[in-house]
């Protein structure tokens, strides 16, 4: 194998490996990473999405809405456990992203809810989502679809590193 082909092979491998890793997106002072979702059943019309948003700026921002071509609607929700009862509520005023803080949307709390899925989310899919922030405006991110049992962005693969 020549040096060039070897280099090409490495480049190809890295390109192939990239989608497996949690992708980080920087937009202005916002850093968005670990965007992931869970696979859904063929008849399931909703799905949850999770991500982490860090505001490195000195001004607070707010995630106000989201859209995705895979769903008729994307809402911002929160979930809480109250006396053994699971309650889910829409965050109608959006989600505050305070200056200098990281806000995590993760299982057991805040999440993005895909409503009216046009097709099931399959493991390995990369779902395009447009987030809209009050100050930063629109930010395009991709949610990586994990197996239904996942509790984090790519836990099964982290063990390999």
């Amino acid at each position: 194998m020549t040096f060039v082909t070897r280099l090409a092979a490495i480049a190809l491998l890295s390109a192939a490996a990239t989608p497996l890793l949690a992708q980080s997106v920087t937009a202005g002072k916002l850093v968005i990473d670990q965007a992931w979702s869970r696979q859904t059943a063929p008849t399931q019309k909703v799905g949850g999405g999770f991500l982490s948003i860090t505001n490195k700026g000195k001004t607070a921002d707010r995630l106000v809405s989201a859209t995705s071509p895979v769903a008729t609607e994307v809402q911002l929700h929160t979930m809480s456990m109250d006396g053994g009862v699971m309650r889910m509520r829409q965050m109608k005023d959006g989600i505050a992203i305070p200056a200098g803080k990281t806000v995590e949307l993760k299982p057991g709390g805040l999440h993005v809810m895909f409503i009216g899925l046009k097709r099931p989310l399959a493991v390995g899919d990369s779902v395009p989502v447009k987030l809209r922030f009050a100050r930063q405006g629109e930010v395009q991110v991709r949610f990586k679809v994990q197996p239904v049992g996942a509790t984090g962005p790519a836990e099964a693969r982290h063990g390999q590193h």
């Binding site: 059943a41 799905g47 456990m81 053994g84 009862v85 239904v148």
Partner: protein, 219 residues
């Protein structure tokens, strides 16, 4: 008798005050009883022997599954709905993982998922949903009346909450109820409980069933 043109005696004043106090108390108690929310979470109520009780529901293949079908093997029963994006998949995936961690004992208890959304969850929807978890699960739904009966038996709180766009979500009790081979309530696994204590509880219901072989037989 007491005439109105004369100041009442101190005794009468005290009696009157006491009577008014009694009226106020009765009104207060009455209003508490009357206005108390009827659909309060019941999961925390005292678990009696009657907990659970008989039920008949429908499996994804259309067959009937009742408490008698499940008798003879302990089971972990959980209420949810297929469009629940968070707690339901988390809980079912967790049950599948706990079963795997138990090794050969993992198949000595059944996992039962009961829909709280008869309007949307038809048997086929449940079948498609539970197939994601790659372990045998009884995925059950039924008529609103059948589901109301089992919810009452298990003290499961369910409340439909409208969300924007005409859709709805459902607030519901998220505990996993562990039942013995006779269908009697043993304990619960809470959403926030760690795997270690959850595994101990599952081991306990499996061990109790093995120690009482007469209960280990299907009727």
């Amino acid at each position: 008798m007491v005439s109105t043109d004369r100041a009442p005696t101190p005794t009468i004043v005290i009696v009157r005050r006491l009577l008014w106090a009694a009226v106020a108390l009765a009104a207060l108690v009455g209003s508490i009883i009357f206005f108390a929310p009827k659909d309060e979470p019941e999961a925390t109520r005292a678990y009696a022997d009657t907990f659970g009780g008989p039920f008949t529901l429908t499996a994804p293949d259309g067959s009937a599954v009742s408490n008698r079908t499940l008798a003879g093997k302990p089971y972990a029963i959980f209420f949810g709905f297929t469009r629940c994006p968070e707690v339901c998949p988390t809980t079912l995936a967790r049950m599948a993982s706990l079963r795997q961690q138990l090794g050969p004992d993992g198949m000595k208890f059944d996992i039962v998922f009961v829909s709280v959304d008869p309007e949307h969850d038809k048997p086929a929807d449940i079948g498609s949903y539970i197939s994601l978890f790659k372990t045998p699960i009884y995925g059950l739904t039924g008529s609103p009346a059948q589901l109301a009966q089992i919810r009452k038996g298990y003290g499961v709180y369910v409340k439909k909450v409208p969300i924007e766009g005409g859709d709805y979500t459902i607030d519901h009790t998220a505990a996993i109820f562990l039942m013995d081979a006779r269908g009697k309530f043993v304990t619960t696994i809470d959403y926030h409980e760690n795997d270690r204590t959850a595994l101990e509880k599952l081991k306990r219901i499996v061990a109790e069933a093995s120690a009482a072989p007469e209960a280990g037989q299907k009727p």
